[in-house]
Amino acid sequence: MPDAAHRSDFALPIAAGVGYKPRHFSEIMADPGSVGFLEIHAENYMGEGGRMVAQLGHLAERLPISLHGVGLSIGGEGRLDRGHLARLARLNDWLRPAAFSEHLAWSTHAGAYLNDLLPLPYTNATLQRVADHIDEVQEALGRRMMLENPSAYLVFAESTWAEPDFLREIARRTGCALLLDVNNVFVSATNLDFTPQGYIDAFPLDLVREIHLGGHAEDVDEHGRPLLIDDHGHRVAGAVWALFDYTIARAGPRPTLIEWDADVPEWPVLESEAARAARSLREAVT
């Protein structure tokens, strides 16, 4: 797809955003504070109508929206669900979001939706399959998308690609951009024993159109080694803030989103996380 025709594919402001939760609707409408954009999970707004869709319409008049899919199963072995893709295209046409993103993961198998972002091996075959699926999504939506790096808890012995190279090659084949989840990098690096800064150094930062930050939980595996869980249920960890600063020192400031999906806090707490991200973004400019 020619670049010029799709300049608006990635129109998020360089600002801090938050994952939108309906309980925060009135506070955001009254005063979004440090929050410069919102992200919504596409699958939560595919109803025919009702309050959630109506409120989204009001929010979209107030703030740019990042549309984030969690159910396309782009890494799935099977074909994409055409009906779901059509619903997504309808939502995209109505909402006209500033950006659309999905995950390097699978969630649907043989018609069953498993409601988790499941991992895939990084091989030549899976790379081509993901690229084909992204072509299909971008064709259906009439826009380019961002693909997000996952949190990893384990490794496929059969993998032959490093994740940053895998993502770079998918982007090269499809023209898609990337969403860099810095918390996911930290979680994966801890779980799989690599340095998160090394991952950032290897990552094609020029393709990053949005950054995600979120909280994680700490556990240990059966060998007593650290096992971090990407649960989006806490404040962003100090080490993840440091990795974020490391990232934007190299990439420059990017639209940055706070994800908080479990044990969702009161609005001032979530807003303060966005304010913290906004501070880093301002400092990265200078």
Partner: protein, 261 residues
């Protein structure tokens, strides 16, 4: 060593199954507890979706029982769509055959009511027709009229006192459910679905209207079921619930009579 998604899913949904060989940790050892993270994510997130969806069923059976029941359900009926807002359409049917809950015969109907409320919440938006249009019709025109009802409207028929059970478990100070069958009408105003108790014959009346039957024929149907069918009460629920969205009369409508005519 390759692990396809069929093998991955089979192990994912069966906590007793071995972790597929080929899934390892950073040192090449079998993934073990690391695989359990995915197992846990799937089971917990789908259980939570059902807890949000069926709060009254959960209250009736208790938290621990509900979690166990959800674990069986989500393995037998995993979602068939990524839109989890309506996940659980098979839950009432599952409950009818779920032996450990067999003593609570009303449970499947309570689940049907809760699912109807969710469907209503997400249904398309519509504007109500002006009730004055109904009142303005001459009796023959009214009997021949066909009504379009809101897509957020639902009718639940039950041999159990489902409306009373629902209220007793959601409203402080609600009375004990009576020992009788209850049909329920769900209507939505201001985006909030509400269940209302239907008088005998009311479900027949509303369902007949829903299927496109004329007002008069729907009324006749309701009266064969309940000779003293309370039309005013049922019509009041439909109008108050903003559930009548259009009124069609057979003849091309003339200008509606003015209020002073």
């Amino acid at each position: 060593m390759s692990v396809d998604q069929t093998a991955f899913r089979a192990a994912l949904m069966d906590p007793e199954a071995p972790v597929p060989a080929g899934l390892v940790d950073a040192e090449g050892a079998p993934a073990g507890k690391r695989f359990d993270v995915y197992r846990n994510n799937v089971a917990v997130s789908l259980t939570e979706a059902l807890e949000v969806a069926f709060p009254v069923v959960r209250r009736l059976v208790g938290d621990a029982f509900f979690k166990g029941m959800a674990g069986v359900f989500l393995r037998r009926y995993p979602p068939t769509s990524p839109i989890l807002a309506l996940y659980g359409a098979d839950f009432p049917r599952f409950l009818r055959g779920f032996k450990p809950a067999a003593s609570l015969g009303y449970l499947p109907d309570v689940a049907r009511l809760e699912q109807a409320i969710r469907e209503s919440f997400h249904a398309a938006d519509t504007a109500p027709a002006d009730p004055a249009r109904l009142q303005a019709l001459a009796p023959e025109a009214l009997m021949g009229a066909r009504l379009t009802l809101a897509p957020s409207l639902r009718v639940i028929r039950s041999p159990w006192p489902v409306h009373g059970i629902w209220r007793f478990n959601t409203e402080a100070g609600a009375p004990q459910p009576p020992g009788e069958a209850q049909d329920v009408l769900v209507t939505r105003t201001d985006y909030d679905p509400r269940p209302h108790l239907l008088a005998p014959g009311g479900a027949d009346f509303v369902e007949a209207l829903q299927s496109g039957t004329s007002f008069g024929a729907a009324l006749g149907k309701a009266r064969t079921v309940a000779r003293d069918f309370d039309l005013t009460a049922t019509l009041g629920l439909l109008i108050g619930g903003e559930a009548i969205t259009d009124i069609h009369t057979d003849e091309a409508p003339d200008d509606p009579p003015s209020a002073t005519a």
